[in-house]
């Protein structure tokens, strides 16, 4: 047996064996492992997508709620300012009314005072007329001299003064 003996059959069988090993590795080692790895990668991608979707939805909801809150705040603000405006109007109206009424009262009081003054004047005129007519009757009834004239005048003046003093 030589040191180097070539067996063509051995070479052919080795080539076949390498191909068989390739098949075994592919079918029984790489295929199952790849299946698992791919499935895991797929699930990871899926989970990531789901998480992203959920985050997006949450963001969308947050945005909607923000809008709604802003709307509500806006409405509240409008309502408040409306109420404020109405209150101011009401206030103005009440003050105006009060002012008007006060003016009315003052006016009424003034008119009343005037009327009273007029009544008093009329009274005085009436009294003066009475005094004058009484004086005239006395003059017509008594003698006409300077003394009586003077006493009559003084009488009249003192009466008129009394009337004025009232």
């Amino acid at each position: 047996m030589g040191i180097v003996s070539i067996h063509p059959a051995s070479i052919a069988f080795t080539i076949a064996n390498v191909l068989i090993l390739f098949f075994i590795l592919k079918r029984f080692l790489f295929a199952p492992v790849d299946k698992i790895l791919q499935e895991r990668a797929r699930r990871i991608v899926e989970n990531k997508e789901n998480a992203e979707k959920a985050a997006e939805e949450a963001e969308e909801l947050k945005r909607k709620y923000g809008e709604k809150v802003a709307e509500i705040e806006e409405a509240e603000k409008t309502r408040l300012s409306e109420a404020n405006r109405k209150a101011v109007e009401e206030y103005d109206r009440i003050i105006n009314d009060a002012n008007k009424r006060a003016e009315q009262i003052i006016e009424d009081a003034g008119r009343k005072a005037e009327m009273e003054a007029a009544v008093r004047d009329a009274e005085q005129e009436r009294k003066i007329a009475e005094i004058v007519s009484a004086a005239a009757r006395k003059i017509a009834a008594g003698s006409n001299n300077a003394e009586t004239d003077n006493s009559l005048l003084e009488d009249f003046l003192s009466k008129a003064g009394e009337e004025d003093g009232n």
Partner: protein, 236 residues
């Protein structure tokens, strides 16, 4: 039997039996046994794999498969990555056949169980032949027959004979390197066992039968990868 005779006998390949004119040698039988072991190991290792909460065994297998794939991808480069199936298979084949020396047991004068098949020159010749065929197929596939023929005149026409010689030199060096290393390691181990049978051979055994075994598998695959990526390289 003196040492020289024993080594010469070790070099030779013992035919175990023959089917008609076809002689089956022990290295072929040992390879078959190895294939069966690999098949059983693969089935057992990948049993009950789950996508969620993988066990330690599954994680180890996954990590190993990913590592082997990344290793061959990085050796081949992106362009030749399609040939990784071949380099992965080669890595397993050479690594396992080299490591089988660890459980080498002489059953009889005729048959040594798990005598590493890579110590048989015929096996390494077959591996080298497959390598060079794949390398040239990769080149033809990439460049077309014309482009592949033209690539022999690159980079300058003068070196065309050298390029043609490389078709023989590349596989020859691959096969001889593998065979020489495994056989050389075997001779050194045999000599050591004769000189100091106790304890001392253990670290050497670790070196030659584990480290060198895996290293040679790596070197073979690494060189094949380089040849393939060279073959698919586009010039300009």
């Amino acid at each position: 039997m003196d040492l020289g005779e024993k080594l010469v006998e070790e070099l030779g390949v013992k035919p175990l039996f023959s089917i008609g004119p076809v002689i089956i040698t022990e290295s072929i039988v040992n390879t078959w046994i190895l294939l069966v072991i690999v098949l059983i190991a693969c089935i057992l290792l990948t049993r009950g794999f789950t996508v969620e909460n993988p066990g330690k065994r599954q994680l180890a297998v996954e990590a190993f498969v990913t590592w082997v794939r990344d290793l061959t991808h990085s050796m081949l480069g992106d362009e030749a990555v399609g040939y990784s199936w071949f380099t992965v298979t080669m890595l397993f084949f050479i690594g396992l056949t080299n490591l089988s020396a660890l459980i080498e047991t002489a059953v009889s004068d005729e048959y040594t169980f798990m005598k590493p098949p890579t110590k048989d020159l015929n096996v390494t010749i077959a591996l080298a032949l497959m390598s060079i065929v794949i390398v040239e197929i990769a080149g033809i596939h990439r460049k077309g027959v014309g482009g592949w023929l033209k690539s022999f005149t690159k980079p300058i026409a003068v070196i065309t004979p050298i390029n043609i010689l490389e078709i023989i030199i590349k596989p020859l060096s691959l096969c001889m390197r593998l065979f020489g290393n495994i056989f050389g390691g075997f001779i050194i181990m045999e000599l050591l066992k004769i000189l100091v049978p106790l304890a001392i051979p253990i670290p050497f055994s670790c070196y030659f039968e584990i480290f060198d075994a895996l290293l040679q598998a790596y070197v073979f695959v690494f060189l094949t990868s380089i040849y393939i990526s060279e073959a698919v390289e586009q010039e300009g």
